[in-house]
């Protein structure tokens, strides 16, 4: 589904990713772990199309399409969706309005008409219940005045509504208490399917107890230095990143 090949990315002249290669197939859950500053968030940001990142070498293919040639919204419409570490607030724009606009944009790209209001309400009610969110969230402005945990739930709510083919979750576990962690992980797990893939970016192993990945990659200094299964995450938890860095060096 997604092929990242020898990806080099610079931000303001500093090379952050230095030849990253990664293949993700449908049905798989991948976790990218690594110390701060290793370039974890850069990878998902580049795939989603955030400005300010310069790809100097390498390629990203999604179902054979050159992702770097696609507009930001096109990527999302095609099913590449990024869950933010720090979701922004958009004052005055109701959550439900954003959800509807996003869903309709996706449908338009698929040649479908706008979703009928009753169908939309039914869908939203179901998903919001899954995320154990109060219906009043829908009428509030996007992320405005939300607590850290509420923002993260909101990100997953959007995923549940938009049903991406590749969900990229950037540090979705940061700032969550244990109850919120359960709800968020349940949400992520409900996305798991044969047709879909998930890419988790995380600093801590904790999330991976709840969402057990098929593959774990350790990212150090812009490169994947080690890949393995869920067991690798536990090793990291026990020995820290330094152990890995040393063994690589």
């Amino acid at each position: 589904m997604l092929e990242v090949n020898d990806l080099h990315v610079s931000v303001e002249g500093n090379e952050i990713l230095k030849g990253l290669t990664l293949t993700i197939n449908a049905g798989e859950v991948h976790a990218i772990m690594g110390p701060n500053g290793a370039g974890k968030s850069t990878l998902s940001a580049v795939i989603a199309g955030k400005e300010g990142y310069e790809v100097t070498q390498g390629s990203i293919l999604y179902d054979g399409r050159d992702v770097l040639e696609m507009e930001i919204e096109e990527r999302a419409q095609a099913g590449l969706l990024l869950g933010f570490q720090y979701p922004v607030e958009i004052p005055g724009v109701k959550n439900i309005y954003l959800l509807k606009a996003a869903l309709n944009a996706q449908r338009a790209a698929q040649g479908k008409g706008e979703i009928p209001a009753p169908e939309f309400m039914k869908l939203i009610k179901e998903k919001i219940a899954n995320m154990k969110m109060d219906a009043s969230f829908l009428q509030r402005a996007v992320n405005e005045g939300f607590s850290g945990g509420e923002k993260k739930r909101n990100e997953i709510l959007q995923m549940l509504v938009l049903q991406p083919r590749l969900a990229m979750l950037d540090e979705i576990d940061s700032g969550l208490d244990i109850d919120a962690m359960r709800v968020v992980s349940d949400g992520v797990n409900s996305l798991r399917s044969e047709e879909r893939a998930i890419l988790l970016v995380t600093h801590y192993q904790r999330l991976l107890d709840f969402v057990v990945p098929d593959f774990v990659h350790v990212l150090v200094d812009g490169r994947i230095v080690k890949s393995g299964n869920a067991e690798l995450a536990r090793e990291l938890e026990a020995n820290g990143y330094e152990g890995i860095e040393e063994s690589v060096a």
């Binding site: 919204e73 999302a76 005055g92 724009v93 309005y97 606009a101 996003a102 996706q106």
Partner: protein, 480 residues
């Protein structure tokens, strides 16, 4: 062929007959006492009105054009302006929509303006009587039954001279400022509204419904009076882009609210802003002031300003009556080379007076916008309260936003809150929406509409929907 020639011939004869009549009605450029006497005579005004005008003119001569605003425009030659022009002859106007700038029509389409109104707005020579006349008659009847007077100011001077005399110039004195003095001397049209004691006006009043709304001209004068316990909601302007031959507009609006009266005044201003270089746009110098004369009276200004090359406008409230309330909700959008210096004045005179100011400025392109607000609390205004919020949103990096808040506080029991933010339309916000699959253009409109929501919700329902559409059309292509 033969018939067509015939028709041309007939038309020409008609035209010739018409011209002589009209030309005597149009003044050459220039301003002196004769000009004013001419206007007054044309309007069939009584002697006192002429004297009032001449007095204003004498005061204007002694005044200087203000230069403190953050505006830059070439000097205006007041002798180059024609102060009275009769309506454009039908044959000088576009004869059908086919002759109208297609871009303008496209905008009407986007704004959802009904077909029959488009022609009138574009200045097409439609037969004078259009469909809505019967509607207007019905409205007039309903207003009459309620005892509400709603007519042109010229008509009011003749029909209700005592009311006009009692209130005209009592809120905005003749010598209030340069542009108000000029307006007082030469005003040619505007509206008059009088809502008697205890009457709640049965409908929203709009200049649009006035039969003579066309060619309201550059020096409009509006006077609205609500007696004790009366209420009215007045809508001014139109979301459709309006063209006008007159470059300088200097209107005066006076509102008077007696005990427990409530006046809600909403404006959507979309005058021609000029071309990409700002050439040909309207200069809009307006004095708008409401006088909360009675106890517990309330005056609320809501404005959506998107047009004009130059805007100089500060709708204000004089809070005289005990516990009276003044409100100002504003959205100003500038693009291209537009310049706007706008804001409000809340003058707290009476005890327990309250005011709210919410101002949202959106600048794009090479435009420049300033918010200028004064909150003045007099020594007798014990327990007065003000809340001010002014937010600016910048789109791109070649535009400017400035905030000039002034506060003068004359006692120690008052409470003032002031919040101000300036933000660039968040690249993060844009990216967030786009990464949800929403196009950049839709994302901008979504973010901007969200930014303006506090003000839009103050607009009457229909107006709010139009204002949103207007904002989207105005901001098209502002990004990227």
């Amino acid at each position: 062929m033969a018939t067509e020639e015939m028709e041309q011939l007939v038309r020409r004869e008609y035209k010739d007959g018409f011209v002589t009549d009209i030309e005597s009605d149009t003044l050459p450029p220039g301003l002196d006492e004769d000009t004013i006497a001419f206007i007054s005579r044309k309007k069939g005004e009584p002697e006192w009105m002429l004297e009032w005008r001449l007095d204003a003119y004498q005061q204007w001569l002694k005044m200087k054009e203000p230069s403190w605003a953050h505006l830059d425009y070439p000097p205006i030659d007041y002798q180059e302006i024609s102060y009275f022009s009769a309506p454009k002859r039908p044959e000088d106007r576009p004869q059908s929509l086919d002759e109208v700038d297609p871009k303008l029509l496209e905008t009407y389409e986007k704004l959802g303006i009904p077909l029959h109104e488009r022609a009138a707005l574009a200045g097409v020579a439609v037969d004078a009587v259009f469909d809505s006349e019967s509607v207007i008659t019905t409205f007039k009847k309903e207003l009459g039954e309620a005892g509400v007077i709603f007519c042109s100011i010229s008509e009011a001077v003749q029909e209700y001279p005592e009311l006009v005399k009692a209130y005209l110039g009592t809120v905005v004195p003749k010598n209030d400022n340069y542009f108000a003095a000029l307006n007082s001397a030469v005003f040619t049209d505007g509206s008059f509204v009088f809502v008697p004691k205890g009457v709640k006006c049965p409908m929203e009043l709009s200049t649009y419904f006035r039969i003579n709304a066309e060619n309201t001209g550059q020096f409009e004068r509006t006077l609205i009076v609500c007696e004790s316990g009366a209420e009215v909601s007045y809508l001014e302007g139109c979301t459709a882009p309006q063209r006008d031959e007159n470059q300088l507009h200097a209107a005066v609006v006076e509102l008077v609210a007696l005990d427990d009266a409530y006046i809600k005044y909403s404006t959507v201003q979309n005058w021609y802003p000029g071309d990409e270089n700002g050439v040909g746009g309207i200069y809009n110098f307006v004095t708008k002031r409401g006088d909360c004369r009675g106890e517990r009276s309330r005056i609320s200004w809501t404005q959506v300003e998107t047009g004009s090359a130059i805007t100089w406008k500060y709708p204000s409230c004089m809070l005289r009556g005990k516990d009276s309330i003044g409100e100002f909700y504003s959205v100003a959008v500038t693009g291209g080379r537009q310049q706007a210096d706008t804001g409000t004045k809340m003058v707290h005179i009476g005890e327990g007076t309250r005011s709210t100011i919410i101002s949202k400025g959106i600048s794009s392109g090479n435009s420049n916008q300033s918010y200028r607000g004064l909150v003045k609390i007099g020594p007798r205004a014990k327990g007065a309260r003000n809340y001010t919020e002014c937010d600016s949103l910048l789109i791109g990096d070649t535009c400017g936003a400035h905030t000039y808040p002034y506060q003068e506080i004359g006692n120690s029991t008052s409470t003032l809150e002031h919040e101000a933010t300036t933000s660039k339309i968040g690249e993060d916000q844009l990216f967030y929406c786009q990464s949800r699959g929403i196009s950049e253009e839709d994302a901008v409109s979504m973010i901007v509409n969200g930014f303006c929501k506090d003000v839009f919700q103050e607009l009457p329902m229909e107006f709010a929907v139009e204002a949103e559409a207007l904002l989207n059309v105005t901001l098209e292509g502002a990004v990227g």
